[in-house]
C-alpha cells in the first residue's frame, strides 16, 4: 500500500493527492491518501515507498498542516535509508517563492537517507494547466520508475 502524504493550506494538495491515488489505483497500484497532520512519522521508515505532496505558504513557508510533519521528522531524525519517495509540489508563480515548500520537505527526506525517485512534480496555480492534469500526468510519468 503506497502512502500518499499531503500537507495543505487551501485543500488543493489534498485534491492532488486524491487524483494521484485514483491514477495509481486505476493502474494496478494500491494507494492510500493520508493527511500529514494525521500521520505518525515513526511509521515512515517502514513504508518502502511514499509520495509526498505539499503546497507553499506565504513567503516560502510550509503550510500549517505540513509543518508539524516536518518538525517531527527534524526532531526524531529517523533512518530513512530504506525509503524511496516521490515528490509533488503546488505553488503560485505570482509570488517569487513559487513551489519552495516541496523542496524543503524533499531536502529533509534526502538528508535522512531517503532516495527520491523521478523528478519533483510541480503545479503552478497561476498557469492554465489544471491541477488534475498536472498531477495525473506526473503520476503517469512516475509509473515506469515504480515498476523498475
Amino acid at each position: 500500500m503506497t502512502k500518499i502524504l499531503f500537507g495543505t493550506e487551501s485543500g488543493n494538495s489534498e485534491m492532488a493527492a486524491d487524483d494521484i491515488a485514483d491514477f495509481l489505483n486505476d493502474n494496478g497500484g494500491e494507494a492510500e491518501v493520508v493527511a500529514m497532520e494525521d500521520y505518525d512519522v515513526a511509521d515512515l521508515a517502514a513504508e518502502g515507498f511514499a509520495v509526498v505532496i505539499t503546497s507553499t505558504y506565504g513567503e516560502g513557508e510550509l503550510p500549517e498542516t505540513t509543518q508539524p510533519f516536518y518538525d517531527a521528522l527534524k526532531e526524531s531524525r529517523p533512518d530513512l535509508s530504506g525509503l524511496r519517495f516521490a515528490a509533488f509540489g503546488l505553488g503560485d508563480s505570482t509570488y517569487e517563492t513559487y513551489g519552495n515548500g516541496i523542496d524543503i520537505v524533499a531536502a529533509l527526506l534526502a538528508e535522512l537517507g531517503a532516495v527520491q525517485v523521478g523528478e519533483t512534480g510541480r503545479h503552478d496555480a497561476a498557469k492554465t494547466v489544471t491541477l488534475t492534469d498536472a498531477a495525473t500526468g506526473w503520476a503517469e510519468g512516475l509509473q515506469p520508475t515504480l515498476a523498475a
Binding site: S10, G11, N12, E59, S93, Y95, E96, A125, A126
Partner: protein, 426 residues
C-alpha cells in the same frame, strides 16, 4: 417520520460554504447536502472577492466543482433564503443548517461624505471589477462606473488594500491571464490614475498585508514608490523591500506613496477641490484627492431582524461558518480550517444525539423554488458560455446581467446580440 440520513442545508456557496460541504461529506457519506446560493452562479467570494488577477487563489473552485460532480452535493442557485424560501421553511425541511453568507458590506470610514469625492468600499470596487451583476459603484446612466480621477486615496493596510492599489496601478495591458471586467476597469481608470496615496494606521512593522502582496506592488515596472511615517520604525522585511523599491523606482510614471501611522479624519472642501485630512504623529496634513477607497474590513450587509440577515437565523440546528462566524477574519485557507472545526462540532452534536435525522430534506421545498432554481447543470451552461466567449488567454468573460445569466442557464433561445428573445420560455 424519522429519516435515516441527515438532511443538510448550507446557505451560501462561497469558500466557507463549500469547505463546510467537503468536511460534512467526509463525516457522512450518505447525508443529503444542498448548497443554496442567492446568485445563479456559485463560489461567492472566490468568484467576486478574490482579485481577478489572482487566478491562483481562485483555483480552489476545482475542488468545489468536485462536490457537485462527484460527491453528490446539490447546487440550488438563484434562491435567496428570506425571500424565495423563508428561514422557517428551511428549518422545517432540513436537520442541519449552515449559514455561510459571509460579510457583504464594506466597513465605512467615519468621515463626512463629499459631493465631489466619492468614498467607495474596496469590496464593492473588487466585486465590480470581478463582473458582479449588482454593481454598487457611482455610475453613469449607461451603467458604467464613473472615473476615479487622477488622485486616489486608499485607506487601509491589509491585503484587500494591496489588491486595490495593484488593480489601479498595474498597466491595463498586463491583465492577460485574469478574468477582470475590462470595460469597468477602463471606465474607472479613464482619467488616468496618476497618484495613489495609501494610508495605514499601523507602523510598517505591524501592517496587516502579506509581504508577498506588498512586494507585488513594489515590483510593478511603471510605479514610483515613496513613503512616510517609517523614520522611527525598527528594521523589518517590509521596510527593507520598500526602501529598495524607493531607490530604484524614481522614473515610474505612476506615483504610489505609502503613509504609515496615518489616520484619515475628515474629507473637506478645499479651494481647489476635495481634501482628505489625515492625522499622523507629526500632526494633521491635507491631501488633494479625487476619490477615496476604504479597505477597512467587512460587516454584514443586512440589518439584524431582516429576513435575509444571518443574524435572524438561529436555533439548535444552526451552525454558522466562515466570516459570518468569526467577524471577517482570515484568508480562504484559514476559513477552511474554521469550516473543518464547525463540521467537527456538528458531527459531535450528532454523536451526542443532540441532532437526530428526521427532516424530509430538499424534496419538501423543491416545488416552491422550481420556477426560480438554477441547478448545477444550469451553472455549467453559464460556465461553458463564459469560457467560450472570452478573449484569448483569458479564463472567462463573466456575464454581468442576471437576466442573461438565467437565459443561458435555462438554455433559452437567444438572439445573436445575446439578449433574450421575448416569449421564448416554455
Amino acid at each position: 417520520m424519522t429519516g435515516t440520513s441527515f438532511k443538510i442545508a448550507i446557505i451560501g456557496s462561497g469558500p466557507s460554504g463549500c469547505f463546510a460541504a467537503q468536511f460534512l461529506r467526509k463525516a457522512w457519506k450518505d447525508a443529503e447536502i444542498t448548497i443554496f446560493e442567492a446568485l445563479p452562479v456559485p463560489y461567492g467570494l472566490v468568484r467576486y472577492g478574490v482579485a481577478p488577477d489572482h487566478q491562483g487563489s481562485k483555483s480552489v473552485t476545482a475542488q468545489f466543482a468536485r462536490l457537485f460532480e462527484r460527491e453528490g452535493v446539490r447546487f440550488a442557485g438563484n434562491v435567496t433564503i428570506g425571500e424565495d424560501l423563508t428561514f422557517e421553511d428551511l428549518a422545517a425541511a432540513f436537520d442541519i443548517i449552515v449559514p455561510a453568507t459571509g460579510l457583504g458590506c464594506d466597513r465605512r470610514l467615519p468621515v463626512e461624505a463629499h459631493p465631489d469625492c466619492p468614498v467607495i468600499g474596496a469590496g464593492a470596487l473588487i466585486r465590480a471589477l470581478n463582473g458582479h451583476p449588482d454593481m454598487a459603484l457611482p455610475a453613469h446612466a449607461d451603467g458604467l462606473p464613473r472615473p476615479l480621477g487622477a488622485r486616489v486615496a486608499v485607506v487601509g493596510n491589509g491585503n484587500v488594500a494591496m489588491d486595490v492599489v495593484r488593480l489601479l496601478a498595474k498597466p491595463l495591458d498586463q491583465f492577460g491571464g485574469s478574468d477582470i471586467d475590462d470595460t469597468r476597469l477602463a471606465a474607472l481608470r479613464r482619467r488616468g490614475v496618476a497618484r495613489i496615496d495609501v494610508f495605514g494606521r499601523s507602523p510598517i512593522g505591524a501592517a496587516k498585508f502579506d509581504l508577498s502582496m506588498f512586494k507585488e506592488i513594489l515590483g510593478l515596472a511603471n510605479v514610483r514608490v515613496s513613503q512616510s511615517g517609517t523614520a522611527a520604525c525598527p528594521p523589518c522585511d517590509a521596510l527593507e523591500a520598500l526602501s529598495a523599491a524607493e531607490a530604484r523606482s524614481a522614473n515610474g510614471a505612476l506615483s504610489i506613496h505609502f503613509h504609515f501611522g496615518a489616520q484619515p479624519i475628515a474629507l473637506l472642501h478645499g479651494p481647489h477641490g476635495p481634501l482628505l485630512s489625515v492625522e499622523t504623529g507629526d500632526g494633521i496634513a491635507s491631501h488633494e484627492v479625487d476619490s477615496v477607497i476604504t479597505a477597512l474590513g467587512f460587516h454584514d450587509s443586512r440589518p439584524s431582524g431582516h429576513p435575509c440577515s444571518a443574524q435572524s437565523w438561529s436555533g439548535a440546528q444552526v451552525f454558522p461558518v466562515g466570516w459570518l462566524q468569526n467577524g471577517g477574519k482570515g484568508t480562504i485557507a484559514a476559513n477552511r480550517k474554521s469550516a473543518k472545526e464547525t463540521a467537527g462540532e456538528i458531527a459531535a452534536a450528532a454523536k451526542d444525539r443532540h441532532l437526530v435525522p428526521a427532516a424530509p430534506g430538499f424534496a419538501a421545498v423543491a416545488d416552491r423554488i422550481a420556477d426560480t432554481l438554477v441547478d448545477y447543470e444550469g451553472w455549467c451552461r453559464i460556465d461553458a458560455h463564459e469560457r467560450a466567449t472570452c478573449a484569448p488567454g483569458r479564463p472567462r468573460l463573466k456575464l454581468t446581467d442576471r437576466a442573461e445569466m438565467l437565459a443561458v442557464a435555462r438554455a433559452l433561445p437567444r438572439d445573436a446580440d445575446g439578449t433574450d428573445r421575448p416569449h421564448a420560455a416554455h
